[in-house]
């Protein structure tokens, strides 16, 4: 018998008592439609020590200190308006060593979850491949207000499981030494979020 057949046969034998079907109760919250989701998101992000900026207008000042910037190939041109540093587009794909030498990466995201302060990247528009947001030390992420949902169940309905996903909640962190939180171990040490499309954002979409 192959290992596969044997394991499956063992498991079938183990279930000889024929356990009854299980009804899964799903009484948990599926949506949170409070009006201040963006504020909740900001609160959670700052709790993780991510830095939050409001409005696309904040980008030029943010990028002014970035010498070499990695971007996905399909980055919206307006995000780079006024940027004078070096733009490194991921085409042809930048090597890991290339990425290691860059100062920051600028991307969008797919969804952001207010309840948990989570930003989800799924390799969709303006996000690029996974290594892009991993190797550079600073990640600047643009989040549109229409991408913000309240709870995880709402986020999952917007995602395609076949795409590779990276869920980010604050910068990389460890608590392994006497439970002291230290930000920035192997992933980006700084996460900066630019929220656009807010009511108070004149350039918002």
């Amino acid at each position: 018998m192959t290992a596969r057949d044997e394991i499956l046969a063992r498991l079938r034998t183990a279930l000889a008592d024929n356990p009854p079907p299980v009804e899964v109760p799903r009484q948990y919250r599926q949506v949170d439609d409070r009006p201040d989701l963006v504020e909740i998101l900001i609160d959670r992000l700052e709790d993780y020590r991510a830095v939050v900026h409001r409005g696309l207008g904040a980008l030029p000042a943010l990028l002014a200190k970035v010498g070499r910037l990695a971007v996905p190939t399909d980055i919206p041109a307006e995000w780079l308006a006024g940027y004078t540093g070096q733009v490194h587009r991921d085409a042809p794909p930048l090597s890991s060593a290339d990425l290691d030498g860059l100062d920051a990466v600028l991307t969008g995201c797919a969804v952001a979850v207010a309840d948990t302060g989570t930003i989800i990247l799924d390799a969709g528009p303006a996000q690029g491949r996974r290594a892009l947001t991993l190797v550079p030390d600073r990640h600047i992420c643009v989040v549109r207000s229409d991408q913000v949902v309240g709870l995880l169940p709402e986020a999952l309905t917007r995602l395609d499981p076949r795409t590779p996903q990276t869920w980010i909640s604050g910068p990389s962190a460890t608590s392994d030494i006497e439970l002291n939180r230290v930000e920035g171990v192997h992933g980006p040490r700084r996460l900066e979020v630019v929220l656009v499309g807010l009511d108070d954002d004149p350039r918002g979409r």
Binding site: T13, R29, L134, L151, L156, T166, S169, V185, G187
Partner: protein, 491 residues
């Protein structure tokens, strides 16, 4: 290492559920192994502080979720459904993952799983691998097997790195190096990390920075990575890894070949079920609303991440756990470690006393079921049955009930069995219980008053035979001076 009930032939004709091997067996009986930990005041202080801190954080973030109990109910039911349909869900997972470009392998036991990983690493032409923290690879003793095959395995989680460089074993599921303080970590780095700065301080940020620099080049050049998985999704073939430091993302993204070792019980039926488990897990384990990073991948994505993706599905005793209807819910465990942090026995004895890679209350039920109870007979006794682990478990595993069930199967000393039998006879009748309490108080009164005066503890250290078998490794709480009923009658 061959033990009865463990099929290591690799071709075994029997398809009866089988127990497993690897680092899940306690080499020493629990009381013996726990003695040095209990005597080590520094260790006890570390553990006390750590478990109390994490416990507090967990309670705070759980309290802010109004539907926590509904999530627990859903989590427990989804897992019960998985157990009931495990064979078909595994076949579904295999088909979906394969269709997405992954290769699925099956391993009956620890040795077979290790053999598969070694062969895959060799086939990739690599003599080193980077590793993401994973209980499954610790369970199968993969690092040892790789080393024996001439392949270097580098742990990349900070705590696992500390433990590996210290030639030690983890003491906690979530914070494996919790038994070290910063000075000890600095000393280990100085001794074993050739590229550590000469003037390395013991500040946590400096130590983390040293680890970052130490592993950076290795991440960027590694060709093979080995991971576990927190969840494997049957309907899509997706694997999920939850982590904090980004070392996981490095391993899961940069190498050409990715090998994930996954216990068969890790399945969830659908992608949507993650909405339950990704709420339950981070809050229960680190006490955060969400862990910094969660990675998901489904087979191979051209141009993004590893182009050679393997999944090794491991039985190693899980079929034996599944075969026991009472013990079966043990397979629901999502390794959050919440039960460790509330357990009075774990807090005093520490992780190493459990011998197995699975310590604490979950270890006390999981390890003996994986190996067969006879091989881990003392572990079901490593508990006061206080029930705190059950209250805190995000998937509602009734650990005390399973402990009692396993104790009934464990061969235990005659005297202890006799005591237990008498006790249970007494406890079955309210009249007998009240009489026994009166008797116990009459006997314990003077003794207890004496000890209370001297030590402030309302416990007895030693009882005469046959109860001595019981008090050898635990203090016996003295009965209260008055029962509630007696007090009520007086009011």
């Amino acid at each position: 290492m061959n033990r009865p009930g463990v099929d290591r032939s690799g071709t075994g004709a029997s398809a009866a559920p089988a127990t497993g091997g690897g680092r899940i067996r306690t080499p020493l009986p629990f009381p013996t192994a726990a003695a040095p930990a209990v005597a080590d005041t520094q260790l006890r202080a570390n553990l006390h502080r750590a478990t109390r801190t994490i416990r507090g954080k967990r309670a705070r973030v759980v309290d802010e979720v109004p539907d926590w109990e509904a999530l627990r109910d859903a989590g427990a039911a989804i897992k019960a459904d998985v157990q009931r349909r495990l064979p078909e869900l595994l076949e579904q997972f295999e088909a979906s993952a394969t269709a997405a470009g992954a290769t699925v392998h099956w391993a009956r036991d620890a040795a077979e799983a290790c053999r598969i990983v070694v062969e895959l690493t060799r086939a990739a032409g690599a003599d080193e691998v980077v590793k993401v923290k994973s209980m499954a690879t610790q369970e199968i003793e993969l690092n040892e097997a790789l080393e024996a095959a001439g392949i270097a395995a580098y742990e990349t989680d900070l705590a696992e790195l500390i433990v590996q460089l210290g030639d030690d074993t983890p003491s906690h599921i979530l914070v494996p190096a919790i038994h070290y303080n910063r000075a000890q970590i600095r000393e280990i780095f100085h001794r074993r990390m050739p590229d550590a700065p000469a003037d390395l301080s013991d500040e946590p940020s400096a130590l983390a920075e040293a680890a970052r620099a130490h592993l950076r080049r290795r991440f960027l050049s590694a060709r093979v990575a080995v991971s576990g998985a927190n969840f494997a999704i049957a309907d899509t073939g997706t694997l999920v890894v939850v982590e904090s430091e980004g070392n996981g993302r490095m391993c899961l993204t940069l190498p050409e070949t990715l090998i994930s070792v996954v216990g068969v019980e890790k399945l969830l039926p659908t992608f949507t079920d993650l909405e339950v488990f990704l709420q339950l897990l981070p809050r229960s384990s680190t006490g955060e609303r969400m862990n910094p990073y969660t990675s998901m991948w489904t087979g191979v994505t051209p141009g993004d991440g590893p182009q050679s993706v393997h999944v090794v599905l491991v039985d190693n005793g899980r079929s034996a756990v599944l075969a026991d209807p009472v013990g079966r819910p043990t397979l629901s465990c999502i390794r959050c470690s919440a039960c460790l942090n509330v357990c009075p026995v774990y807090e005093r004895a520490g992780g190493h006393a459990y011998g197995s890679v699975y310590p604490g209350p979950i270890g006390a039920i999981l390890s003996p079921q994986l190996t067969g109870v006879a091989d881990n007979a003392s572990l079901p006794y490593a508990s006061t049955l206080c029930g705190a682990c059950y209250d805190v478990c995000p998937v509602k595993i009734n650990i005390p009930e399973i402990l009692v069930h396993l104790r009934q199967q464990a061969p235990h000393p005659l005297a202890e069995r006799a005591t237990m039998r008498v006790l249970s006879w007494v406890m079955r009748s309210p009249r007998r219980w009240a009489a026994a309490l009166r008797l116990a108080r009459a006997g314990a009164g003077p003794l207890g008053a004496y000890r209370e005066r001297r030590t402030g503890a309302r416990t007895l250290r030693r009882l005469p035979w046959p109860a001595s078998a019981w008090t050898r490794s635990r203090d016996l709480p003295l009965p209260a001076p008055q029962t509630f009923r007696e007090w009520w009658d007086q009011q």
